[in-house]
């Protein structure tokens, strides 16, 4: 590594000095060069005539595509600072798709380097664009820094039929897919919003940790990723709710972006034993949790009655029919515990409410974490409703075996914790996405989906995103600053 520094030579040292590592730029600016790699008459060169749309004055599909690329790159160019141009090798190609699903596109760093300059974290991979910023010249002039390609067939028959890219620049995409937002997100990855470590195995790429890994900490293990073994990193990648970003930029800015209030289930009471604690919950657009919330005994319902004319047997305790007298007795004034499945969440909740329950906990019927959100709406549901993981539900059920017909001795409080930021852990660090099971490409290299407001770099690109990457709309730039931008 030291030898490599010497190879860099005087040019790098001069470049580094000129860059001034510690001094923030007064006026952020970087120049992006979009290299249209498409062939004649296709992709960016598609001559099909179209009308200008949403602030995009292009009159061909090719022009409009390039204009959106420019607009997205320009957001980053006005935000980042680098004296070296950042080249994006870009194309529109026919990518894999069916009538209901499609690859929108992909992007990533084109090259990475380590130990290219003094003052950086040693033995650590940096994405090309950031490496160039540090050294002050183009380390690899024969290659772009970001590689990107997007789907040229989107919206056509057989390719997410009827849902094309929206080429306007005004975020007025309606039910179409806002290319501007997708590009901002993907360019974010290309600029360094990703680990190059294989998060499923924990193996660092080429044996080197990524700059990303220096700021990734597992709160259970109490270690950053650079201090872990491969096995520890693989564990950490699915340690939902415990994987955080420790960079000062994100941590400091977080209160200005995320909102206070995390829905949760607190379990206690004389019979709770080892189940006492706070559990993550999924919520929906009905049965909102509030502060200080409601507290009562958790009471599971028994199996549902068989509808007349059905084969003999039992139905699982899913709350899909009006509660029997025994179930109504159990949940009256209590928090009902109901299995997920068969019918809508809203129907379960309404049946429990009608039976006198003061709250509803729905137990997921499949393994995994975090607990997903719940679909459906019903403004007549006035009691709090939350979904917990199957694992948590099984744990809580283990404490309910000695209940009476009306009491369990295990209390549940469904509430909104107004001392925590949505998307941060109790210590105030931003949560990274670490679901169970591991989700390649989503896990670790994104903010957690619990973030509220929605952030650009969550794994799911939400429709309510703005085109901003900075505070107070977003934390992406703060994270990129943490890694050296």
């Amino acid at each position: 590594m030291k030898n490599k520094f010497f190879r860099i030579g005087l040019a790098a040292l001069v470049g580094s000095a000129a860059l001034g590592f510690a001094a923030p730029a007064a006026n952020a600016a970087a120049t992006f060069v979009i290299v249209n790699i498409d062939g004649a008459g296709e992709g960016f060169n598609d001559p099909t005539a179209v009308a200008p749309v949403g602030g995009n004055p292009g009159t061909t599909i090719g022009q409009q595509r390039l204009n959106v690329f420019q607009a997205a790159a320009n957001v980053w160019g006005a935000t980042l600072t680098s004296s070296v141009t950042i080249q994006i090798r870009a194309a529109f190609n026919p990518l894999t798709c069916t009538a209901t699903s499609a690859v929108l596109g992909s992007a990533g760093a084109r090259w990475v380097d380590n130990d290219f300059a003094p003052g950086i974290k040693p033995g650590t991979l940096y994405p090309g664009a950031l490496a160039n910023k540090y050294v002050g010249f183009d380390e690899v002039p024969t290659e772009a820094e970001i590689n990107a390609q997007f789907n040229s067939n989107l919206g056509q028959p057989g390719c997410l039929t009827g849902v094309p890219f929206y080429y306007g620049l005004d975020n007025n995409h309606g039910t179409n897919i806002d290319l501007f937002t997708v590009l901002l997100h993907e360019f974010g990855h290309g600029l360094g919003f990703q680990t190059f470590t294989d998060a499923s195995t924990g193996a660092p790429f080429a044996g080197f940790p990524s700059i990303w890994d220096h700021y990734l900490k597992d709160q259970t293990l109490g270690k950053t990723w650079v201090a872990m073994t491969n096995a520890e990193r693989a564990f950490s990648a699915t340690n939902n709710g415990k994987l955080v970003w420790t960079g000062a930029g994100v941590t400091t800015a977080l209160p200005g972006v995320l909102s206070l209030g995390v829905p949760q289930l607190s379990v206690g009471g004389p019979a709770s034993g080892g189940t006492a604690g706070v559990y993550a919950v999924g919520t929906g657009a009905f049965g909102t949790l509030t502060s200080p919330g409601v507290t009562s005994d958790i009471m599971p319902i028994a199996n549902d009655p068989i509808p007349p004319g059905s084969p003999p047997g039992t139905l699982p305790a899913q709350g899909c029919v009006p509660f029997t007298a025994l179930n109504a007795l159990a949940v009256k004034g209590n928090v009902a515990l109901i299995d997920r499945g068969t019918c809508a969440f809203t129907l379960k909740a309404k049946n429990a409410q009608n039976a006198g329950a003061v709250g509803v906990i729905i137990a997921n019927n499949a393994a995994g974490a975090p607990p997903p959100g719940m679909g459906g709406t019903d403004p007549t549901i006035t009691i709090p409703v939350a979904l917990i993981t199957q694992g948590d539900a099984n744990l809580i059920r283990s404490a309910l075996t000695h209940r009476s017909r009306t009491k369990s001795g295990v209390s549940g409080t469904l509430s909104l914790n107004t001392t925590r930021y949505a998307g941060a852990d109790p210590s105030g660090f931003a949560l990274l996405y670490a679901p169970v099971p591991f989700s390649g490409g989503s896990s670790v290299s994104h903010f957690d989906v619990s973030a509220t407001r929605n952030l650009l770099m969550e794994p799911a690109i939400n429709v309510d995103l703005t085109h901003s990457v900075v505070v107070p709309q977003d934390l992406t730039f703060e994270l990129l600053k943490d890694i050296g931008w």
Binding site: A12, F32, V33, V35, N36, G39, A40, F44, N45, P47, G58, Q63, Q70, A73, N74, G77, T85, Q87, R89, N93, T96, T98, T100, S101, V103, L104, G105, G108, W111, V112, D113, N114, G123, L125, P141, T142, N147, L160, V163, I177, V182, E186, H189, D198, F205, A206, G207, G341, T342, A344, P372, M374, G375, S439, G440, G441, S442, S445, A460, I461
Partner: protein
Amino acid sequence: MKRINITQAAAVIGVAGLLGVASLASAGDKKPAAKPAAAPAPAYTDPASLQKFSNVVVVNATPAQRAAYAAETRRPMTSAQKAYVDSAGNVRPLTAEDVVAEAPAATAAASAPAAPVEMITTASGGHAMLLDDSSNVYSVATIGSDGKVKKICVDAPIKTDAALESAAKAAQENDNEK
């Protein structure tokens, strides 16, 4: 630097093109008026025809760049990459010995073996590592049972309908599942 060359080349081509047009127009003035033919659509989008942004420049790739890209995209996709380091811990290029050493493991592997990382020499004489699109982050969209479009990032290159289906499943939040 390549980028300057691209820009310069584009400028030169642009000037040459203008000169060519001017020359043709001049020649045309001396001939009897001919029925104007419809101008063929340009093969490549002219960067000068695009909206202007203060921090972005668009250039059309050179034929050599396009050829290199086409060759690259024809290459079989790798599921993973592997790099080699020297005794000092520096990444080094692949050697023939590495290829021989990897052969048994590659044969035994149930899936495609990790391809060696492609090394590139930096301007300062060091080595950087080239990433192919297996290192990219992919964005997938799917229409859920509720009719809403959901999007999610995945990292595996998606080249088949089966892979797409798997990714689409991950994109679903299952929020309307019964």
